[in-house]
């Protein structure tokens, strides 16, 4: 029988003082003892870099690993829109409570209240911290911060730095980390990919990495391991994720005993540039801040052939404004995405592929002037034009939903600790704060909150209360795991088949988009559970990798990631099948309201599903963490 137990470790008491009390009661590591502890941080995005910098400032020895040639390139850099905080600088009635409330509701009541409250609570500190690092958030003419409202929010609580907020926050965290590298507190390992986790006596004590340049397999030991390795959206092949973004680190953790939670919750971002062709490698997102001023519409007639600008007002359907008068174009991402799909399903799509809807700035330009629009979105407009060769000042943009973010991830407790003691998971890689759907501008918030403000306490509490024996890289466990890793790479090289990695990855992506995408059914999911293993089998039989494993070998790198994507995809389908309700980013056609909105089933599914790995050809075991909502009463989401 399985020994895995889910204990959320949420302290008892009033939600408003939980975190303060926790911090007060947490075990501390004496400052002079901190340098005796080594902490591995995998990933250098917002969660990884901010935690590495902070832990080093506190005195720990940190080893940081990243896949890119520099930690500054982690994919947090591409987040455009902004970061939420409950500062109420705008005096529009925002508060910690409201941010908490909106986040729980936005997540369709599938997140853990206590974690979300803490997130909202530390949000204001984040802004102070980032500003102190030199992050140039936008200012108004009076010299104060300028903020905007973002998808799903009725207050302006989003700080931004042009359309490059992720870049600025990441560069802040990166420079803080580089400062620590210079001082010796952080050792930086670039072009390294974590390929396995080493568990000794039930505790996470190290990792195995592949040096991407030399192909060597390397070992690193530590007292705790932190994963800030992002999401698994690239399982779909096409997504807004960067090319190297992958789910393997989290997946290795799963296979070594960490429960994997809510894999089916995937966020589809409504405002991406539509697909142009078969050889496309990735999708580009246009910040949804565009929805503040742009109006979304399709032609009323399915047989429309005129140019967008020639279609008169009365023949346009501004469907979001029509269906959701209170929120209009600012409905949450899942609602906006699904409605776009409904329109193209009704053949009202626009552009060459008919898989797009219009996002129109004409009225905003008339109302505010071109200068204002240019100041707000100039770089996004430029990017759009460079990709599509169309000028959005003159003709409406064409947009379509694309895979963007994964809310599911490694299950963690209130300490951000997984079911493997000593393994902590931060940012997008964990499942904790966004429930079934993440609000705009909340990903950056969570990444930095986890890294700067949560982990310093919870990791200290762990290291201060556990008795950890010294473990070196010569320990037997490292030998065993390294051998397994080596065997896997040899296996890839020895298949000597005929098809490339991308060939299989694209097939997987198509299955996922078709059956585990925006609208899912029992039948489709069952089909996916038959088809995915078939393609996976082909992959392991007919894959072709040129070159040598002891060398820089991009095909081999990709193969290792895609092999995991097959398994992740299958678990996503399994989880989606199990959850016979619609919630946030998970939409089951069988479970919708009369108006076609997501319909939750709180009786049965007001919970977190956490899967336990039990062996390669065995079904994973489902564990359930029940969720309660004493502070934000359960209601059906309505954005009418």
């Amino acid at each position: 029988m399985s020994s895995l137990k889910l204990d959320s470790k949420v302290p008892q008491g009033d939600i408003k003082t939980l975190w303060e009390d926790y911090k007060f009661n947490a075990k501390l590591v004496n400052p002079s003892n901190k340098r005796k502890f080594t902490v591995i941080v995998v990933g250098s995005g917002l969660a990884g870099a901010s935690s590495a910098a902070t832990l080093s400032e506190l005195g720990y020895n940190v080893l940081n690993f990243c896949i890119q040639d520099s930690p500054r390139r982690a994919h947090s850099i591409a987040a455009q829109g902004g970061i939420n905080a409950a500062t109420n600088y705008q005096g529009d009635g925002d508060s910690v409570w409201r941010l908490f409330y909106d986040t729980v509701k936005g997540g369709d009541y599938r997140a853990r209240e206590a974690n979300v409250y803490r997130l909202a609570e530390v949000s204001n500190n984040i802004i102070d911290q980032c500003v102190a690092q030199g992050v140039p958030f936008a200012r108004d003419y009076g010299g104060l911060y300028s903020m905007r409202s973002f998808g799903g929010a009725q207050v302006s609580r989003t700080f931004y730095a042009r359309g490059q907020t992720g870049q600025q926050l990441l560069l802040g965290a990166y420079s803080a980390m580089e400062k620590e590298v210079a001082k010796g507190g952080v050792k930086q390992f670039t072009r390294r990919e974590m390929v396995d986790l080493v568990v000794v006596d039930g505790k996470a004590r190290g990792i195995i990495v592949r040096n991407i340049i030399t192909g060597e397999i390397e070992r690193y030991a530590a007292d705790a391991v932190l994963l800030g390795t992002g999401g698994y959206g690239n399982v779909f092949f096409l997504s807004t994720n960067a090319m190297t973004s992958n789910g393997s680190a989290a997946w290795k953790a799963y296979k070594r005993g960490a429960a994997f939670a809510n894999p089916c919750y995937v966020q589809i971002h409504p405002t991406c540039i539509p697909v142009h062709g078969e050889l496309q490698s990735k999708l580009t997102l246009m910040s949804e801040s565009l929805r503040n001023d742009g109006r979304i519409w399709v032609p009323k007639s399915a047989t429309e052939t005129r140019k967008a600008t020639d279609i008169p007002e009365e023949e346009r359907d501004y469907y979001l404004e029509r269906k959701y008068p209170a929120f209009g174009n600012l409905v949450p991402r899942d609602v906006a995405s699904r409605n776009a799909k409904n329109m193209t399903d009704e053949d009202k799509g626009v552009g060459e592929t008919k898989l797009a809807v219009y996002l129109d700035f004409k009225d905003a330009i008339e109302r505010l002037g071109r200068d204002v629009i240019e100041a707000r979105y100039g770089n996004l407009f430029e990017m759009y034009e460079s990709i599509t060769d169309e000028n959005p000042y003159e003709t409406p943009m064409r947009i379509y939903p694309a895979i963007h973010y994964t809310m599911g991830g490694v299950w963690v407790d209130y300490n951000l600790q997984s079911t493997i003691p000593g393994l902590f998971v931060l940012g997008e890689a964990n499942f904790s704060d966004h429930g079934a759907n993440r609000l705009g501008a909340s990903a950056l918030m969570q990444g930095v909150a986890d890294g700067y403000f949560v982990i310093p306490y919870t990791l200290g509490n762990y290291l201060g209360s556990e008795k950890l024996d010294k473990v070196s890289i010569d320990h037997e466990a490292f030998n065993t795991v390294e051998k397994e890793v080596q065997a896997r790479f040899d296996k890839f090289m020895n298949i000597k088949g005929t098809k490339t990695v991308d060939h299989f990855h694209k097939q997987l992506g198509k299955l996922m988009w078709e059956y585990v995408g925006m609208a899912r059914t029992e039948e489709g999911l069952k089909k996916a559970l038959v088809e995915i293993p078939k393609v996976r089998e082909q992959f392991w039989k007919d894959l072709k990798i040129p070159g040598d494993s002891k060398d820089l070998n991009i095909e081999l790198e990709k193969a290792n990631r895609v092999a995991d994507f097959f398994e992740i995809g299958e678990l996503m389908a399994r989880d989606a099948l199990n959850r016979a309700e619609s919630a946030g980013g998970h939409f089951r056609l069988e479970s919708q309201t009369e108006e076609g909105e997501a319909k939750r089933n709180d009786e049965q599914y007001c919970n977190v599903s956490a899967w336990e790995y039990t062996g390669d050809n065995q079904e994973p075991v489902l564990h359930v963490e029940e969720l309660t909502f004493p502070n934000v009463p359960l209601t059906q989401r309505s954005y009418k």
Binding site: I77, Q168, A242, M383, D389, T500
Partner: protein, 253 residues
Amino acid sequence: MSDEMTLYLQVWRQKDSKSKGGFQNYKVENVSGDMSFLEMLDMLNENLAREGKDPIQYDHDCREGICGACSCMINGEAHGPGKKTTTCEMHMRHFNDGDAIIIEPWRAKAFPVLKDLAVDRSAYDKIIMAGGFIEVKYGNAPEANSMMVGKEVADFAMDNAACIGCGACAAACPNASAMLFTAAKTTQLSLLPQGKVESKKRVQSMIKKMDELGFGNCTNERLCEAACPKGISIISIARMNREYMGTLLKSDY
């Protein structure tokens, strides 16, 4: 489709940092104008992999012009012919059927070639380590709105903060100077009240590090500015020089 092109590529191939490299010729067919430059290279790589040949190594990640990973000299220009674009943002519609395209890695002493088109740019991280930060410790930050900064100043700081650290400036410069990269950081930080305090020390140590790493001097060629995909202006270099001179003058008082 009629708008598909055939292109003749000359690509720099180099096994590793120790080997000698050279150009190899490739013909790519069925390139559509909507493809990005890297998608065109992907297509070539896919063919190479299928034939069991070693694919071309090039750095890339975000493919939307923000991570700074991509880095090709295309027909002698850093990031190719487009203005204010990175290699990944360039689309094939800027080329014509039958064109010959020469693709090389960044050429700068401080950026040694690792393989084919990929170079080692850790020197830029080292320049940041020398002072490209503000010494603020976790938990000690003052309330954000307690410091006011005029919009123009904040905007200018942001213009400089937009640097993606791709290395095009040094690659384009005949002296392989890293002045634009360094100046963008010192300018961003010294414009803001929270960064001003350390600006003297920062400018000195970053410039010193830049020299140590083997980057050349600035002789006002302005090619860095032309190559910069984020449009960072050489005004920042002038500003940094002024700051640097200031530190020399005042260092003896």
